[in-house]
C-alpha cells in the first residue's frame, strides 16, 4: 500500500514548523541579549539568565502549539490537496509565530520602561508610585 497522503503531510508539517520555531527563536534571542543588557544595565549574568528563560518559554509554547494544530480538518486525496493543506497549516503557523515575535518585543520594551522608571525612582527623580488603597476587610 502507498503511503497515505495525510502521512506525507504530517511528516512535512512537523519538521517545517519545528525548524521555523528554532530559526525564529535563534533570531529573537540572539538579538534579545542586546535588549536584556540594556534593561539590566550591563549586568551580564542576570541578563543572559533572563534571556534563556524567555527562550525556553518560547520553545515550549510554540512547539506545543504546532503539535496541537497538527490534525488536518479535511481529508487529503491527491497532490493538489496535499499542497493546499500544507500551505494552510504552515502559513497559519507562520502568522502565529509572527504575532508571538511581536508579543515578545512588547515584553522587552515594557521591561525597558520599567527598568528606566526604577532607575529614576532610585535617583529620586520620579515620585513613588501611589500605593494601592488597603482593601477593606470583610468579616
Amino acid at each position: 500500500m502507498d503511503t497515505p497522503f495525510i502521512v506525507i503531510a504530517y511528516s512535512v508539517y512537523l519538521p517545517v514548523t519545528i525548524m521555523l520555531t528554532y530559526y525564529v527563536a535563534r533570531v529573537l534571542f540572539r538579538n534579545g541579549k542586546v535588549f536584556m543588557l540594556d534593561i539590566f544595565r550591563g549586568r551580564e549574568e542576570i541578563a543572559f539568565a533572563t534571556n534563556k528563560l524567555f527562550q525556553v518559554g518560547f520553545y515550549l509554547l510554540n512547539i506545543g502549539f504546532a503539535l496541537l494544530m497538527l490534525k488536518a480538518e479535511t481529508g487529503v486525496y491527491n497532490t493538489q490537496g496535499l499542497f493546499e493543506i500544507l500551505s494552510l497549516k504552515v502559513g497559519r503557523f507562520s502568522i502565529y509565530l509572527g504575532v508571538m515575535l511581536f508579543a515578545n518585543l512588547y515584553l522587552f520594551f515594557r521591561g525597558k520602561r520599567k527598568s528606566k522608571e526604577n532607575q529614576l525612582r532610585a535617583e529620586g527623580k520620579l515620585a513613588e508610585p501611589i500605593q494601592e488603597r488597603e482593601r477593606p476587610k470583610y468579616i
Binding site: V24, V27, L28, N31, G32, V34, F35, D38, N78, T79, Q80, F83, E84, S87, L88, V90, G91, R92, F93, S94, I95, Y96, L97, G98, V99, L101, F102, L105, K116, Q119, L120, E123, K125
Partner: protein
C-alpha cells in the same frame, strides 16, 4: 498527476517569495539609518530592533501568502489559470504596496516623538 491548480501554486509561490524577500531586503537596508537615528548612537539596539521587524515581516507576509492558497478557485483551463494567477499576485503585491506606504507614514509620524522620548530618558538618567 499534475492539475492546473498545482501549476498555479508552483508559479505563485516562488514569485511571491521572491518579491517579499526583495522588498524586505530594501526595507531592512534603508531602515537601518532611520533606526540609528531614533536610538541615538545605540547602534546595537537599533540593529536588533531592525532584525525583529524584518523577521516579523517575513513571518506574517509569507504566512499570509502561503495560507491564501486555500482560497483559490478550481482551475479548469489555461485562461482561468492566468486569470487566477494575476488576481492572486495582484492582491499580494498591492497589499505590500499599501503596507509599505503605511510604514513610511508611521516612521514620518512617530520617529520625531520616539527620538524625543529617547533623548529625554537619556538626559534625565545622567
Amino acid at each position: 498527476m499534475i492539475s492546473l491548480n498545482l501549476i498555479g501554486y508552483l508559479t505563485y509561490l516562488p514569485i511571491t517569495f521572491y518579491i517579499t524577500f526583495y522588498v524586505g531586503g530594501v526595507l531592512y537596508r534603508s531602515g537601518e539609518a532611520f533606526l540609528a537615528d531614533i536610538f541615538e548612537g545605540n547602534k546595537a539596539l537599533g540593529h536588533a530592533y531592525n532584525t525583529f521587524l524584518l523577521t516579523g515581516y517575513y513571518l506574517l507576509n509569507l504566512g499570509y501568502a502561503t495560507m491564501s492558497i486555500t482560497w483559490w478557485n478550481a482551475i479548469e483551463n489555461t485562461g482561468q489559470l492566468v486569470n487566477e494567477l494575476a488576481l492572486r499576485l495582484g492582491v499580494i503585491i498591492m497589499a505590500l504596496g499599501i503596507i509599505h506606504y503605511f510604514n513610511m507614514y508611521a516612521f514620518w509620524r512617530f520617529a520625531p516623538k520616539l527620538k524625543e522620548l529617547y533623548e529625554n530618558l537619556n538626559k534625565s538618567s545622567t
